[in-house]
């Protein structure tokens, strides 16, 4: 049967499921996301929600199924019988600081990276980040690529990263993989993205402005 039809039939029956959210026992319908379930049941202060489509990384939850504890995104997880859900508090401020404008020379970049993220070379390959990532990103490998100076490839590994920072929470070495990934993506663009069509148009516009300015100053004379 078609996926739409079977899904719609399921919605029509809507059997109730019982779960807990932030310690409160609530009921929900199959097919509801955990965000919808929390609002539907009136769980107070569920405001770490943004896009509701899995791209903003705000709706971080801890999930307990029996003994099994995982993390995930509430808007991408459906209500299920017996699951315990806790919306996580906002992430703490990052511990790594840099301003991209301070980087003047791409030849220094690996030294800068090691200054800013000294922990990255101490990864103990525990896979904590990989199992935390709701987007299935190969975080551990991304960190290894970064530590090896392969910024373009590392950045590409983080392409679908939604900034939830669940990998940061999971990392015992405080490597902050999410920020490592962003660093890699940013320096790749900052130093290496030099598109000819854009550069040509920028120069054309600069010359136009210059000649307009010349004409105007002539007119003033």
């Amino acid at each position: 049967m078609s996926a739409i039809l079977s899904k719609e039939n399921e919605n029509a029956q809507q059997p109730d499921v019982a779960l807990t959210i932030n310690g409160l026992a609530v009921n929900a319908h199959t097919g509801m996301t955990l965000v919808e379930a929390a609002w539907h049941a009136g769980v107070p202060r569920v405001t770490s929600v943004g896009c509701m489509e899995g791209v903003c990384g705000s709706c971080r939850v801890m999930l307990r199924r029996g003994k099994d504890v995982t993390v995930g995104l509430a808007c991408q997880t459906f209500a299920e019988e017996g699951i315990e859900v806790v919306f996580m508090p906002p992430a703490s401020a990052p511990r790594h600081h840099y301003e991209i404008g301070d980087f003047k020379d791409a030849w220094d970049i690996h030294a800068r990276f090691q200054d800013i993220f000294p922990e990255a070379s101490r990864c103990r390959h525990c896979h904590g980040c990989d199992s935390a990532c709701p987007k299935g990103i190969t975080v551990e490998n991304g960190v290894a690529l970064a530590a090896a100076g392969r910024y373009r490839d590392a950045g590409e590994a983080f392409f679908e990263c939604v900034m939830c920072e669940l990998c940061d929470v999971a990392c015992p070495e405080l490597i902050a993989p999410a920020h490592v990934g962003l660093f890699c993506r940013r320096v790749t663009a900052h130093f290496h993205l030099r598109p000819p069509n854009l550069i040509y148009r920028l120069e054309e516009l600069r010359q136009e402005r210059q000649s307009v300015a010349l004409i105007e100053s002539d007119e003033e004379k």
Partner: protein, 530 residues
């Protein structure tokens, strides 16, 4: 609306290789728009009775909020902690971050406050791309013309020219901040042509343009030494000087602990985004949770003029199914890549790359005239024929639209095999605060940038101009706000609140409703008692 072709029947009839017929001639766009576009629904528009736009047309639910009571009065301000900043930016989307970064680059101490988490915004959800005239066969001139034509010539040509001229420079600035874009094999920025464009002008990062922009700007803001960020801190009111004539700060609340805070400053930059979550005219929306039109309410109460308050963009292709993604978008990029719209009879009914308002009205026409596909008593839509696109260009969906594929995969739908059911969704606020080319509103000290501002898109926005606008005007306002050299406020008051309250009383209007909304009712559990 119960007419339409039942889903099972429409599915049985659907084939990705069927003959979909030739496109019927589009007789008269004006009649189509006047009959079916939600802006023209009967009783949807009223005239404002008080404030700077007295007598102007305004969507009725929005009018109710603009002409309403504030959350706080003078008594609430006593004993409230005060923070000083050179520039206060309200809103942590793309426009707010660009403004904060520009002001900080100019040496200002910036405080950026935002309702939810930094980056929870409409910006992060943008998929399609950002416009800039960079191709050899394109020009700033053509960008200006397309924008004005797309907006039915209601836009302000000076603002449009400022934005289009900034286009290439905006891309350079974004690349400097570390944003990546799709490239051609020879290293050019890859461009697409989408609805309303006379040349290929849409630059993008696959279908995650907004996410890439937002995560880079968010990181840049977090990392910046001169920018402080307060999250979960919505602005509930602006502050004025003792004459109620100049904006000198804002009052914030906290979604975490309900504590009010006063911020005193020389300039306030409103960057609060749109209002999809007001669900105007009962429509679903593509917008993020925080899009409740707060900036319009705050700006109007302090006396700023607004414009095009009766004009909203309903994106033609919101998902109708699955229900937890109702109203969420299928980017126009999919139509730009060649996907067709097909009704329940298996027929094409409109040129898919017509301006959005026209395509939207055409879909609503199909639905109301019984040619839509009906899921149940309420939900009717049309097909977006993705399987046909996949047949024509195998692999394209997976390669260019990973976002769409990931989202539908969660629900067990494969757009390569089954067409998507779509219906128009409330997407964008075309109008907003009246601004000049610095983003300054008609109230001294108050700037407005991004979706909360008006004048660029006229009565209809073409794709990719919003992402350009937020950076172009965000930066302009950030710089201008920093240039203000006055000594800062002596006194912060709610004089403007009193003024509007008097006007409302004089006009005999009830003071029953409080605004801004901050959160839609369904998400406000435990946060307040309105």
């Amino acid at each position: 609306m119960s007419n339409g072709i039942p889903l099972a029947e429409a599915l049985a009839r659907y084939r990705p290789d069927s003959d979909i017929g030739s496109l019927p001639e589009l007789a008269d766009t004006d009649t189509l728009l006047n009959t079916y576009h939600p802006d023209h629904l009967r009783d949807s528009v009223v005239k404002l009775a008080v404030g700077a736009n007295t007598g102007d047309h305004c969507q009725h639910e929005l009018a109710g909020l603009l002409q309403s009571e504030a959350f706080i009065d003078e008594a609430d301000l006593a004993g409230t902690p005060v923070t000083d900043a050179d520039v206060l930016v309200i809103g942590g989307g793309g426009a707010g971050c660009a403004a904060a970064l520009a002001a900080a680059e100019k040496g200002a101490r910036v405080l950026l406050v935002t309702k939810l988490r930094l980056g929870d915004s409409n910006t992060v959800m943008a998929e399609g791309g950002i416009q800039a005239a960079i191709e050899p066969d394109d020009s700033v001139q053509r960008h200006v013309q397309d924008t004005l034509r797309g907006g039915h010539h209601a836009g302000d040509p000076a603002l449009v020219a400022a934005m289009a001229e900034d286009g290439p420079e905006v891309l350079r600035w974004l690349i400097r901040q570390g944003m990546q874009f799709e490239q051609t094999p020879s290293g050019d920025l890859h461009t697409r042509r989408a609805g309303g464009m006379s040349a290929a002008r849409l630059v993008h990062c696959r279908d995650y343009t907004g996410l890439e922009m937002m995560r880079v700007l968010r990181e840049a803001v977090i990392q910046h030494r001169s920018i402080e960020v307060w999250e979960q801190s919505p602005a509930v009111e602006l502050l004025s000087n003792e004459h109620g004539q100049k904006c000198v700060g804002a009052v914030l609340t906290s979604l975490l602990d309900d504590q009010l805070r006063i911020v005193r400053t020389r300039s306030v930059i409103l960057a609060t985004g749109g209002l999809g979550r007001l669900h105007l005219n009962g429509f679903p929306t593509s917008n993020h949770l925080g899009a409740t039109g707060d900036g319009l309410v705050l700006a109007y109460r302090i006396g700023a003029r607004l414009r095009e308050l009766d004009s909203f963009q309903y994106h033609p292709t919101g998902l109708l199914h699955p229900s937890h993604l109702a109203g969420k978008l299928v980017t126009e990029g999919v139509r730009a890549a060649g996907a067709l719209l097909v009704n329940g009879l298996g027929r094409r009914f409109i040129d898919e790359l017509q301006p959005r308002d026209v395509v939207c009205a055409a879909i609503l026409r199909e639905c109301s005239e019984g040619r839509g596909i009906r899921i149940d008593g309420q939900r009717v839509g049309v097909w977006l024929d993705t399987p046909r696109l996949e047949r024509a260009q195998p692999g394209l969906l997976e390669k260019q639209f990973p976002n769409l594929m990931t989202r539908t995969r969660v629900s067990g739908i494969d757009p390569r095999i089954e067409p998507l059911l779509v219906h128009p969704t409330l997407h964008y606020q075309n109008g907003g605060a009246v601004i000049d080319t610095n983003g300054a509103t008609t109230v001294p000290g108050l700037y407005a940038v991004g979706e909360v501002a008006g004048g660029i898109h006229g009565r209809n926005r073409i794709m990719g101009n919003a992402l350009l606008e937020i950076i172009s005007f965000g930066r302009r306002a950030g710089i201008a706000a920093t240039a203000s050299r006055d000594r800062g406020p002596k006194k912060v008051t709610l004089e403007h609140v009193n003024r509007l309250r008097r006007a409302l009383t004089l006009a005999g209007m009830p003071l029953t409703q409080r605004a801004p909304r901050i959160l839609p009712d369904y998400a406000a559990g435990g946060v307040w008692k309105r």
